[in-house]
Amino acid sequence: MTRHRGRGRLPVVLALPAFVGLAFLLVPLAGLLVKAPWGSLSGQLFSAEVGEALRLSLICASLATVLCLLLGIPLAWLLARSGLPGRGFLRALVTVPLVLPPVVGGVALLLVLGRRGLIGQHLDAWFGISLPFTTAGVVVAEAFVAMPFLVISVEGALRAADPRFEEAAATLGASRWLTFRRVTLPSVLPGVVAGGVLCWARALGEFGATITFAGNFPGETTTMPLAVYLALETDPDAAIVLSIVLLLVSVGVLAGLRDRWISGPT
C-alpha cells in the first residue's frame, strides 16, 4: 500500500561530500580516544600539572563568564531596547571579536592594557595594577573573546520578547530598572543561560588571546589549552589526557544546552 513514490536514492553528488564531512569532523575526535593512554590515564589525570591547569581554567573561565554577564547583559539591553541611534553599527562592532583571530585580540589588548599601553600605563602608574602576564590578564583575554557570544544570544532573546510586558509593568508603577530586573530579565532567562554557557565554553577553550596577552606561567596563566599545546612537545600522552578532559567538558556543555533548549521554560 504505502509505496514511496519517487524521491529515490540520495544523490551521490550530495551524499558523498556529506559523509566525508561527517568523517572529517568525527574521526579526529575518535583518534583522540583511540590513542589515549588508558592504562596510565588515572595517574595522568590526577597529576599536579593537570589538576593545576584544570583548576585555573575553570576559575578563569567562570570569572570571565561572570564579567561577561555583568557587562554583556546591559550591553545587549542597550542594543535591543534603548532606541540609541547607530545601534546597527554598534551591533556590528560588538561581533568583531567573534571573527577576529584571537591572537590579534591578544595583541590589541597588550597595546591598550599592557604596561605601556594606552590605559595600562595609567593603571600601572596610579593604582599599581598590571594586567598582562597575570591570572587577571587571563580573565580579561577570555572575556574579550567570549563576550560577543553572550551579547548576541541575550540580544536575540530580548528582541524576541514582547515589549508590551514592559509597558504593563510601567503602568503598574515600576521604574525601568525594576522592570528590567523583575519582568524583562526573567523572560529572557533561557537566552541568558544559553549565552552564558556558550560564553563559558568559549572562554574555557581560549588559546590565542590568552597566550599573547597573559603569556604562559604554570599555575598562574597556563590554562588547559596552553597546557595541551606545551605538553605536546614534551609529553604527548599528557597532551592527549588534557585534550580528552577538554573534550568531555565540551560535550557536557553541549548536552546541558540541549536539555535547556528542549525542556527549558517557554
Partner: protein
C-alpha cells in the same frame, strides 16, 4: 475631581483629535471600529505615548501638557490590556502584588492586599497558580485585580472581554460591571463591541477616524444614532433627509412619512423588524411603501436579514416562515412597507 483630556496625537497619516472628560465614578466607553484611534487614546492616557499637543489633567494635577509629561510609571493608573499581559513567571498573587511592590508597599503588606483582591474577584485558592494554568476568564479577573490593587485614579480597560468565548463573556461582563460600579475613580473602556459598551458604560463616545462623532448615554445613542457606523452598531435603518411636516425627503432618494411633524435636516431611523415585505403593492392603511430588489439574504440565529436595494435601500428582518412564503432570491422584485409610527425622526 474630573479628568479632562484634549488628546491630539499625530502619527504619519493618522491623527487623533479627541476631547474627553470623565467624572469621578463615571465609566466612559470609547467605541469605534478598528483603526479609529481607540488604542492611541488609551496609550496617551496611560502615559505610554506622549501627546503631540493638547493636555491631560485630573483635578489639579497635570499629566501631559506642552511643558510637563508624567511617564506611565508615575501616573496613578491601572490598565487591563486586551490579552492581559500577565507576567508568566509570576504566580497570580505576585502579579497582583507587583504594582503595590513597585509603588513601595512592603512585601508582606502587598501580598496580603493582593490576596484580598484575588478574593474580591472570586479567585481564592488561585494565589499560587501561574497565568498559563488559568482559564481565559480567570486570567481576565487577575488582570482586573492587578489593575485595581494599587487604588488607581484612572482605570483603563482595553477590549477587556474580547479574548473570551461567548459563554464566559456573559458572566465576566456582569462581574466586571459590578467591580466598575464599586470603583470610585475614572474609568475609560475601549471596545469595538456595542454590547460591552452599552452594558458597562454610563456614557459612550463614538470614535471614527480619530474624531468623536457622537457622545451620549447608551440609550440616547441607541435611539438616535448620528452616523451610519453607529446605526449599524445599534442595528437600525438610518437615513438623512429634509423634513417638511410629517414628510421627509431622503438625501439618498425616496421619502418617508414620520409620526410627528418636524422641520429642516433630520435623521430618520426604524428597526429592520418594522419592515414588512410583500410580493405586490400593499393596499390599505397609511404606510410607507416602495418597490425594492433583493440584494442579499443573511441567516441569523432566529431571523433572516434581507438587504434590499431601492429608494431608499433598507434592511428587513423577516421570519423563516415569511422567507418560505416569498421564496426570496437575490434579484427578486418586492414591495417594502413600514408603518409611520415605527419610524423616529430627530433633528441633525
Amino acid at each position: 475631581m474630573t479628568l479632562t483630556a484634549e488628546l491630539r496625537v499625530t502619527r504619519g497619516n493618522f491623527s487623533l483629535d479627541l476631547d474627553v472628560t470623565i467624572a469621578s465614578g463615571e465609566v466612559v466607553a470609547l467605541l469605534g471600529p478598528n483603526g479609529a484611534g481607540k488604542s492611541t487614546a488609551l496609550r496617551a492616557l496611560a502615559g505610554l505615548l506622549p501627546l503631540t499637543s493638547g493636555h491631560i489633567a485630573v483635578g489639579e494635577s497635570t499629566w501631559d501638557s506642552a511643558d510637563a509629561f508624567v511617564p506611565a510609571e508615575k501616573r496613578p493608573i491601572g490598565v487591563v490590556f486586551q490579552d492581559y499581559l500577565l507576567f508568566a513567571h509570576m504566580s497570580a498573587l505576585e502579579n497582583v502584588a507587583f504594582g503595590l511592590r513597585a509603588r513601595g508597599t512592603r512585601r508582606a503588606e502587598a501580598r496580603a492586599e493582593a490576596a484580598r483582591w484575588l478574593g474580591r474577584v472570586g479567585l481564592d485558592g488561585y494565589a499560587q497558580t501561574r497565568p498559563r494554568s488559568l482559564s481565559g476568564g480567570q486570567a481576565q479577573r487577575v488582570a482586573l485585580a492587578r489593575a485595581l490593587a494599587t487604588g488607581p485614579s484612572l482605570l483603563l480597560l482595553d477590549e477587556p472581554l474580547a479574548a473570551l468565548d461567548a459563554s464566559t463573556r456573559l458572566q465576566v461582563r456582569s462581574e466586571l460591571g459590578r467591580h466598575l460600579a464599586d470603583f470610585g475613580g475614572h474609568t475609560l473602556l475601549v471596545t469595538h463591541d456595542p454590547l460591552d459598551a452599552m452594558v458597562l458604560a454610563d456614557r459612550l463616545v463614538i470614535l471614527e477616524n480619530g474624531r468623536a462623532v457622537q457622545q451620549g448615554t447608551p440609550s440616547e445613542v441607541a435611539r438616535r444614532p448620528r452616523t451610519d457606523y453607529v446605526a449599524n452598531l445599534v442595528g437600525l435603518n438610518f437615513y438623512r433627509g429634509t423634513a417638511t411636516g410629517t414628510s421627509v425627503a431622503l438625501d439618498g432618494g425616496g421619502s418617508l412619512t414620520v409620526p410627528a411633524p418636524v422641520d429642516g435636516p433630520v435623521h430618520v431611523v426604524f428597526p429592520p423588524t418594522a419592515v414588512s415585505l410583500y410580493p405586490d403593492r400593499p393596499s390599505g392603511s397609511p404606510r410607507n411603501a416602495w418597490p425594492v430588489t433583493v440584494a442579499a439574504i443573511e441567516q441569523h440565529a432566529h431571523t433572516t436579514r434581507v438587504r434590499l436595494d431601492g429608494a431608499p435601500a433598507v434592511l428587513a428582518d423577516i421570519t423563516t416562515a415569511t422567507l418560505a412564503d416569498l421564496r426570496l432570491r437575490p434579484g427578486d422584485g418586492l414591495w417594502a412597507a413600514v408603518k409611520a409610527t415605527e419610524t423616529h425622526a430627530y433633528p441633525v
